[in-house]
């Protein structure tokens, strides 16, 4: 027997969350792996406020309870996120698994979370006490640790409406379907008037938290491609220091080598 509440509005859900110890249940594809036996679940799939994908002047807003299938099929969603979502698991899982669950499980292997790091997305966290908006990098505190309070829900993901079309993405899994990332890399680079206006990179599945280092990426910003080439060595060396893969079934050496290869390829594909 599974105990739970089938909330139909955000308000109702937050009320339950405020007064009872319940586990938010979105697609359940992470929760089902190691089910807590006596847990009471708060089912999120019917909360309409968490199922929208809309654009306003500032952001693309994706409801946390949107499944990957819904994300892939929505025309507002940028290609980089669609490509990553399409490589998650297999169709049956994608029909259930949600973007919110992918973030809230706190894993550095989350394939959609990687894209949200690379795009400096923000998370709208709501409780019956109020709400706050947190940059995704501040949401992750450590391995499987997040800043989510026990009475909070992740309701929406906010992605800045900047140009995301010039992107680089690669997931390395153990096989071509139903595979958790061993290494993943996403990057965006925009050039305007001959100058790099933004460079955003993120490395997944190598550390406890997805690696996003705007301070290193800043080395390239404001430069022409030619100028960027001059600092390329330094830039790569900085990442070489920053990326320290934790030990796992797959060797740290392998994962490091893949990260550096992909980083170089990303630069080369942009003429740097």
């Amino acid at each position: 027997m599974v105990n739970g509440y089938q909330a139909t509005s955000l308000k109702e859900a937050l009320k339950i969350l405020a007064k009872e110890s319940v586990t938010p249940y979105s697609g359940g594809t992470d929760l089902m792996i190691d089910p807590e036996e006596h847990a009471t679940f708060l089912f999120l799939a019917r909360i309409s406020e968490m199922k929208n994908i809309i654009e306003d002047t500032e952001y693309l807003r994706i409801g946390a309870a949107c499944t990957f299938t819904e994300i892939i099929e929505n025309e507002l969603v940028p290609e980089i996120l669609k490509e990553a979502a399409a490589q998650i698991a297999a169709p049956a899982i994608r029909n259930l698994a949600t973007i919110g669950g992918n973030i809230c499980n706190g894993s550095a292997k989350g394939d959609s979370a990687l894209i949200l790091f690379a795009t400096d997305a923000k998370l709208r966290l709501v409780s019956s006490r109020g709400e706050r908006v947190l940059p995704i990098a501040e949401f992750y505190l450590g391995r499987k640790k997040t800043a989510l309070k026990s009475d909070e829900l992740l309701v929406e993901i906010l992605i800045d409406r900047i140009n995301l079309s010039n992107y680089y993405y690669k997931k390395v899994g153990a096989r071509d379907a139903l595979a958790i990332s061993r290494v993943s890399f996403a990057a965006i680079l925009n050039v305007a008037d001959g100058k790099i206006v933004n460079c955003m990179t993120a490395f997944g599945a190598v550390s406890d938290i997805i690696i996003r280092r705007p301070d290193i990426d800043a080395m390239l910003v404001g430069k022409t491609t030619k100028e960027a080439k001059v600092v390329k060595k330094e830039y790569i060396a900085a990442y070489d220091q920053a990326i320290i893969p934790i030990k796992g079934r797959i060797s740290a050496e392998y994962r490091k080598a893949v990260c550096m290869n992909l980083l170089r390829d990303f630069l080369e594909s942009n003429g740097i």
Binding site: R175, V258, D265
Partner: protein, 704 residues
């Protein structure tokens, strides 16, 4: 295509689609208890003390002291204890079973048990083993002379790893006492193997034991010997409790503690004179694990295949299966052959490169043909269809042209193509069929003119019920619906042998065909008639002698050529399979859908073995790859372009011309894959699985 090859609705189709098929875990019995095993946490230790918690009413502990017969499992050699005695020899060795009415409580009790071990230093690496379980040697021609006269000698060692069967249904059995007898039912390939093991362990006569196979969710060899072990443990528990006891392994338990393919190290010394291969001196090492189980026969098959499909006049083959403090290895589709076929195909490839030839050219030069002598001085009595298979592969893949084209590549993506040729010896190795199994099969015509097949072979998903019924129906000239077969029950069926060695259809199907022919002649409307047939070795067979490995190890062979094309991403060291093609000769397919299912599934398993299925133990002898997220097997998406084709080559002595099909498709995938990787990477490779980490090392120029 022959008439019989047309596909038909499988006998088990309806029940499996509508959910009425009952697997062992679906069975509930009155008063049934649940058992869970306490497995050793140490690779080698003496058990000094076992501290048990207080047991609630109705719960009991079952261990070595409860074995009323012999505390040994009757497999080939009786060395596997039913329950551990004073020592444990591998992580996972069963020490005792907790039994009781509530599974959760059983689990809780299990966690409260404290075992005090006096640890010893385990032997994990087969190279450092000091116990040789089996040691076989055979020769042909004069190897010493070939080596002495050689102008070059190639030496290389090849390595293969574990492979886990990864059947969908984990191991599981129920045992229950009834009227002074013991019944064991569940997931298994070989009811009569289980039968003798249980009688031996509980110490009763064969007539007091009944074994029933339930619908079985895959075996691949993993349910050949292991169910005998589990059956003894469960039967002992049921006897003590005097109630039904059910044990179902969870996935981790199954992956960590049940048999898998033997890891191997094979060293080839090849003598060359005047550009000709004049001899092969081969040394094979298999890691048996802690007990012997099936290692003797797995090693025999591996050694017999050691020179591949090549005519090598001077041959010396030696092999040992050695003990280590690791999980006992056992049967897995191919049964020792994938290991040595990998090695011989790779050494041929490497020799060819040294000679400046393409490997196919060299292989074609030495390929056997009908009438040639086998490694054991037997004979290839029948047509060997390798030349037309190679031609067909070349038509399908443009192999020869691609192989050249891919030799020098730069850039991020690099392609490669590889080819392997191999056989699978059909049926038991040597004289086992004649001297040990002595198969008996029956058919019974009922008064209503329906016909029942009585045989001990198990349908484990491979389609045996369907093919058996097709043979009998077609021979009798009656409709397929009037012929039926139930899951074997040793109270009802004779011992037609185990469901192994690609033998069931060829050997037992042959007996059934003969029985049906006889029944047809003697057919009497409305009467019950029973026809029984016994195995007779075909006249042409040159008797096999195990002492010196001489004679026909197999009456006939199934043949195959595989080609695999890959594309390596040099940035990520990952590999995409662009295509996998297999041409298979299994004689006349008795049902094309079933045979294609076998070919595609087996081929994919072989590709997994070659590329991604990695399993290893750590310094303490613990296998960590014990779940489907850690032990990666290929999915359909990983090899989208997998092509299997059948080459019809009827076997004169098989039913409708059929021979062995089950194992063949797995046997040669690994060398085809690794040859393709060599072609892409421009390096000599010598191990499987060949993983992205291995590729990365080659790309980085690290010596491996």
């Amino acid at each position: 295509m022959e008439n019989i090859s047309g596909s038909i609705k499988k006998k088990d189709h309806e029940a499996k689609i509508n959910g009425s098929a009952l697997y062992v875990d679906d069975h509930l019995m009155d008063g049934m208890l649940y058992g869970r095993m306490l497995h050793s946490a140490k690779a080698k230790a003496r058990i000094t003390k076992i501290i048990l918690p207080e047991l609630p009413e109705g719960y009991l502990i079952v261990d070595k002291n409860d074995v009323t017969g012999v505390n040994r499992v009757a497999i080939i050699i009786h060395d596997t204890p039913v329950y551990a005695e004073d020592t444990v020899e591998y992580v996972g060795e069963p020490i005792l079973m907790v039994v009781g009415p509530d599974d959760q409580v059983v689990e809780t009790i299990l966690h409260k048990i404290v075992v005090v071990y006096e640890e010893k230093i385990p032997v994990l690496d087969m190279l450092t083993s000091d116990t040789v379980f089996f040691d076989y040697n055979y020769t042909k021609g004069d190897m010493d002379k070939a080596l002495a006269e050689a102008d070059r000698v190639f030496i290389e060692t090849f390595q293969t790893g574990y492979q886990e069967q990864a059947y969908l249904e984990t191991q599981g059995l129920i045992a229950y006492p009834q009227d002074g007898r013991m019944t064991v039912r569940g997931s298994m390939q070989c009811p009569y193997y289980v039968h003798s093991a249980v009688a031996n362990a509980i110490g009763c006569e064969g007539k007091d034991v009944q074994i029933i196979q339930d619908v079985t969710g895959g075996g691949f060899g993993g349910k050949e010997a292991f169910p005998s072990i589990l059956a003894c443990q469960v039967a002992v528990a049921a006897k003590k409790a005097n109630k039904p006891v059910k044990v179902i392994f969870d996935r981790r338990e199954d992956m960590e503690f049940t048999s898998k393919r033997h890891p191997s190290l094979s060293t080839y010394k090849v003598a060359i004179k005047n550009g000709e291969i004049t001899g092969m001196d081969i040394d094979v090492l298999f890691n048996s694990g802690a007990y012997t189980t099936l290692s003797a026969v797995v090693l025999q098959r591996g050694l017999i295949c050691a020179n591949g499909v090549y005519r090598i006049d001077n041959l010396r083959v030696g092999g040992r299966a050695v003990k280590t403090n690791t999980v006992p290895c056992g049967a897995y589709r191919g049964f020792g052959a994938p290991q040595t076929f990998f090695a011989v195909e790779m050494i041929m490839d490497h020799i060819a490169k040294e000679m400046g030839l393409d490997s196919l050219e060299l292989k074609e030069k030495y390929m056997v043909k009908q009438g040639d002598s086998t490694s054991t001085s037997g004979k290839y009595h029948f047509h060997v269809p390798l030349p037309e298979m190679i031609q067909r592969i070349d038509e399908l893949t443009d192999y020869r042209a691609k192989r050249k084209q891919y030799q020098q590549q730069i850039g991020r993506y690099r392609k490669g193509i590889g080819l392997s040729m191999f056989f699978h010896g059909c049926g038991f190795t040597g004289s086992g069929e004649r001297d040990i199994i002595k198969a008996v099969a029956k058919i019974r015509k009922n008064p209503d003119n329906t016909v029942e097949i009585l045989a001990s072979n198990a349908d484990i998903g491979q389609g045996l019920k369907t093919t058996f019924c097709k043979i009998v129906a077609d021979t009798l000239g009656i409709s397929y619906d009037r012929v039926y077969i139930d899951n074997p029950d040793t109270d009802r069926v004779p011992d037609s042998g185990p469901t192994v060695a690609s033998r069931s259809l060829m050997t037992v199907g042959g007996l059934l065909q003969r029985a049906a022919e006889k029944l047809k002649k003697e057919w009497q409307e409305g009467k019950e008639q029973v026809i029984e047939e016994h195995f007779v070795e075909p006249d042409f067979v040159i008797p096999f002698n195990l002492k010196d490995f001489s004679g026909d190890a197999y009456p006939t062979y199934s043949w195959s050529v595989n080609a695999i094309e890959v594309e390596v991403d040099t940035l990520t060291a990952t590999t995409k399979i662009l295509g996998a093609w297999g041409i298979f000769d299994v004689g006349v397919p008795i049902d094309m859908n079933i045979v294609m299912g076998q070919m595609e599934g087996g081929f994919l398993q072989g590709i997994g073995y070659a590329s991604m299925e990695q399993m290893d133990y750590n310094a303490k002898g613990i296998i960590r790859n014990n779940s489907f997220s850690d032990y990666i097997i290929p999915t359909a998406v990983d090899v989208p372009n997998l092509v299997a084709e059948i080459m019809n080559n009827p076997y004169t002595h098989g039913p409708y011309g059929a021979k062995g099909a089950g194992e063949l498709p797995l046997v040669g995938a690994a060398p085809a894959y690794v040859e393709a990787m060599e072609n892409a990477l421009g390096a000599n490779l010598n191990k499987v699985p060949f993983t992205p980490e291995d590729v990365m090392k080659i790309l980085q120029g690290v010596n491996t």
